[in-house]
Amino acid sequence: METAVQNNHLFFVDPRFYFWILSFALIVSAIGVVLMRNIVHSALSLCLSFICTAGVFVVLGAEFLAAAEVLIYAGAVTILILFAIMLSQRIIGRDMIYRNRQSIWAMFVSIAMALILIGIYATGDWSYKPTTEPSMANNVRMIGRSLMITYTLAFWVASLMLTIAMIGSLFLAKKD
């Protein structure tokens, strides 16, 4: 099988190909997030970007994260945002100007940011010199073991954070 793949269908089993497709989709959906006038469209575009991100995670070998991303982001966060949108728009909502007065400057700044970052990355040494070629087998197991053994405290703090955020958002959002 491998040879067939290697010989003929190299192109379509190359993770790089799928990475570029997913990243292209990601970029497109990101642009959709920031440029769409309708906030709900913007939220749906955000959901799409999350899904593309999950795909990128898979390509990069972090399938657990992909699953987590889809679950949390594309599932809960998107729904949350949609709920908030629904709760905070007038029934007969008018379209407000979606860009403010500094959007031109923002464009320049963001383009500058991108270029600078890319420029910095360009001069870096990204060579990969492993002693052995590790595999990514048992990714979930690895993550589990790390979380529970090495990063237990952080895990616990994260849970505490979630509790606090829940209480906080309850408090902030309640009517008084």
Partner: protein, 136 residues
């Protein structure tokens, strides 16, 4: 037909498993830079408060992808002797980081949306230009 897909995916996945560094980190970084700057633009220029929050999420997404890419690059350095003496396992340091980032992002989104709802209750609008009490 399904078998071809199955084989295809197996091969793909095996390839990915066998060679985690198959995608150059630099390419990933470029992509994430672009996404980060797009998110930055959105955070700077959108008037809708929830729009700003969504752009913020985009920026975080870019950061997550970066972390995973760096995990593939740096992970082999970490020989986590605590749980495995095998040399051929990739340490999931970056992915753990990403888990926490996702956690925090979720908290932040919920709190931000709570704030936005409170703001809506006060101003009857979520135009961020309404919040200018610190204006001179």
């Amino acid at each position: 037909m399904a078998s071809w897909v199955f084989i295809f995916v197996q091969i793909l996945v095996k390839r990915i498993y066998k060679m985690p560094q198959i995608i150059p980190v630099y390419h990933v970084l470029v992509v994430t830079s672009i996404i980060f700057s797009i998110g930055l633009y959105g955070a700077l220029s959108r008037r809708n408060a929830i729009g700003i929050l969504m752009s913020l999420e985009l920026m975080l997404v870019a950061g997550n992808i970066n972390l995973v890419a760096f995990n593939n690059m740096i992970g082999p350095q970490y020989t986590l002797q605590a749980f495995s003496a095998a040399q051929d396992v990739l340490s999931p340091v970056g992915q753990i980081f990403v888990i926490f980032v996702i956690t925090i992002a979720a908290c932040e989104v919920s709190l931000g949306l709570a704030l936005i709802i409170a703001m809506y209750r006060h101003y009857r609008s979520i135009d961020i230009d309404n919040i200018n009490l610190l204006k001179w």
